[in-house]
């Protein structure tokens, strides 16, 4: 024991020196890039891609706000990109190094929060929709194309205790606002109060506010309907089929519209290897590489070149590639101002406290 500790200590201290190879630090969501994609890039650039993970935009924002450094490429969602730009945390992108940028569908470029794409480049997309167990929901005769199945007690009483919603104030308020016919980005306090009323009325029927284990429960069959992310729901179905379950997990796009989350590649200000970062970003903008992620997890894809590499059944899936009519109803969430966030937090706490 006496010798073990110094040995381990010396290993721990020596470790950084051993990793002298070129490194690209990639801070990403878990399971948000295909392993083959990374491997091919490492062969291409003769470097090592060091991946670390976060599971929530806010975790990324909090860590960077406290001063964490050392990341090259990160993949925040649009509203987080907005916060990062305003906070001066990003490095401008040298677009001359990104010839493949032309592959991206122009409707996703030039956003209000990053005009001219000075700092961000679209990577992949997902929507926040309804996921459901097709057998059970058919049995109960419930609709799956409207938010009413999540908020209206006349539907809810049939699935009491078998439905979960996301544990995110932003997402749940967005869904409630859409259900009420407002924009997901509506900031009128009166409308927010209406949304709160809708949520409180539906809450007794919900099993939980859950953002972490809901997919598992859906796949196992304990939960029959969820308010969740399209990628996760897609994966849940794949798992359910692999486990031989007697049902499918399907995606339901509500007709009132839903939240669209576009995840973007950005470079942290003061990144150690911006050159490698740009090389990586250009590589990921190639159609073939971009398609690998969609084929893996069923994510939406803003890359026009990728279409020819994506599996046909995914292209036909309206939740992954929605048609024009649905696209018009999808909205990206905008970042709220400080006072707005505080009001929402107060309302959210009151909802959670059961007042």
């Amino acid at each position: 024991m006496k010798r073990l500790v110094p040995l381990l200590l010396s290993l721990v201290i020596a470790a950084p020196a051993l990793a002298a190879k070129d490194q690209l630090h990639f801070y990403n969501w878990n399971n948000y890039i295909a392993p083959e994609t990374v491997k091919r890039f490492e062969d291409l650039c003769k470097c090592e891609v060091v991946q670390t993970y976060y599971s929530d935009n806010e975790e990324l924002l909090a860590k960077l706000a406290a001063g964490a450094k050392g990341y090259d490429v990160m993949v925040p969602t649009s509203n987080a990109v907005e916060a990062l730009i305003k906070g001066g945390q990003l490095m401008p992108i040298d677009k001359s190094k990104l010839p493949n940028l032309k592959n991206i569908n122009p409707i996703y470029m030039n956003t209000p929060f990053d005009p001219g794409n000075k700092y961000s480049v679209p990577y992949a997309m997902s929507t926040t929709i309804i996921g459901y167990n097709d057998v059970k929901i058919k049995e109960l005769g419930l609709p799956t194309d409207t938010w009413a199945v999540v908020f209206d007690p006349k539907y809810l009483e049939k699935i009491k205790g078998r439905i979960t919603v996301l544990d995110s104030a932003n997402e749940l308020f967005a869904a409630a606002l859409k259900y009420l016919g407002y924009s997901a980005n509506d900031v009128d306090p009166k409308h927010w109060n209406e949304a709160v009323a809708v949520i409180k009325k539906a809450k007794p029927y919900w099993a939980a506010f859950n953002a972490s284990s809901y997919i598992k429960e859906l796949t196992v069959g304990n939960i029959w309907l969820v308010h969740g992310y399209s990628n996760d729901i897609f994966q849940a179905n794949q798992d359910a089929q692999a486990a031989g379950r007697p049902f499918h997990i399907l995606q339901g796009m509500p007709k009132e519209g839903a939240v669209l989350a576009v995840d973007n590649m950005v470079i942290q200000k003061g990144a150690p290897r911006p050159d490698l970062a740009l090389m990586f970003m250009n590589y990921l903008l190639e159609g073939k590489n971009s398609a690998e992620l969609t084929n893996l997890i069923g994510s939406g894809n803003p890359n026009m070149e990728a279409i020819k590499y994506i599996k046909p059944e995914l292209l036909k899936n309206p939740a992954i590639f929605p048609d024009k009519a649905v696209e018009a109803k999808l909205e990206q969430l905008k970042d709220l101002t400080g006072p707005q966030r505080r009001l929402r937090s107060k309302l959210w706490t009151e909802i959670k406290a059961g007042r």
Binding site: L8, A66, G67, A68
Partner: protein, 259 residues
């Protein structure tokens, strides 16, 4: 060996059962032929195979083990000193400083340590994580050691000192063996806290630092496959083996003085 009352056996057995039923599920499901951690489908060793080819997971497990050993060793030493000091000379400041890290929400501690390290321009990495872990582990050790000392026979120490023993000798040969069960209990708790910590580690880890909890929590939504069960099972067995080896190598360290 004394006859123990049946009630005691039953109650203790119930306690162990409560502790182990979930663990049995964890170990058994590491052989489950299903990506989900939810229902038994069939037997396979595939997850262990996947684990041995998964460099990221192995490095993360290694880091967690290394940090755990270092953090528990240092915090046990510092915590024992604090426990002894608090018992002999109750110092309000030390008492508060020892208890507060246990009370303070982890998120606050994580964010504050990150800001602190950044202010000092301290490179984030395994060392920053270890320093953070030591901080919250000291209190656990100190409290257990102090409780162990409560009611201890001071006369023994006085007698030794009267016979000419230096304070260090008195500590090493009398106090230390007497408090050893408390020290061991504290060390075990510190190690457990360290290898499973997520929040504080998340904030104080560097851009390339991964520990097992960081790796696993990022998979929380969809990918907590039986590979995680496999790495957990192996980590448990490895730690158990390390401790058994250590106790054989230095039996005096684990001896208690009764009998």
């Amino acid at each position: 060996m004394r006859r123990r009352p049946l009630g005691l056996w039953l109650a203790a057995a119930a306690g162990y059962a409560f502790l182990y039923i979930p663990l049995v599920i964890v170990v058994v499901y590491s052989f489950n032929d299903s990506r989900l951690n939810a229902e038994w489908v069939g037997f396979t060793l595939g997850w262990y195979d996947k684990l041995f080819h998964d460099d990221d997971m192995l490095v993360a497990a290694g880091n967690s083990l290394a940090i755990g050993l270092v953090a528990s060793a240092v915090s046990t030493v510092l915590g024992t000193m604090a426990g002894v000091a608090l018992y002999r000379h109750p110092m309000r400041l030390l008492s508060g400083l020892v208890l507060a890290p246990i009370a303070i929400p982890e998120i606050l501690m994580g964010v504050s340590l990150l800001i602190f390290f950044v202010l000092l321009n301290f490179t984030l990495g395994l060392v920053s994580v270890a320093l953070a872990h030591i901080t919250f582990c000291i209190g656990f050790v100190a409290i257990v050691v102090r409780a162990r000392l409560a009611g201890m026979d001071e006369d023994l120490i006085e007698a030794a000192r009267d016979c000419g023993a230096t304070p260090w000798k008195a500590f090493r040969h009398i106090t230390l063996p007497l408090i050893m069960p408390g020290v061991i209990a504290g060390a075990l708790m510190a190690f457990t806290l360290s290898i499973d910590d997520f929040v504080i580690t998340f904030f104080t880890a560097g851009a390339g630092t991964v520990t097992l909890p960081l790796q696993i929590y990022s998979m929380i939504k969809i990918a907590v496959t039986p590979e995680v069960n496999a790495v957990s099972t192996l980590l448990m067995l490895l730690t158990l083996a390390l401790i058994i080896i250590a106790s054989r190598l230095s039996p005096s360290l684990f001896q208690t003085d009764r009998e």
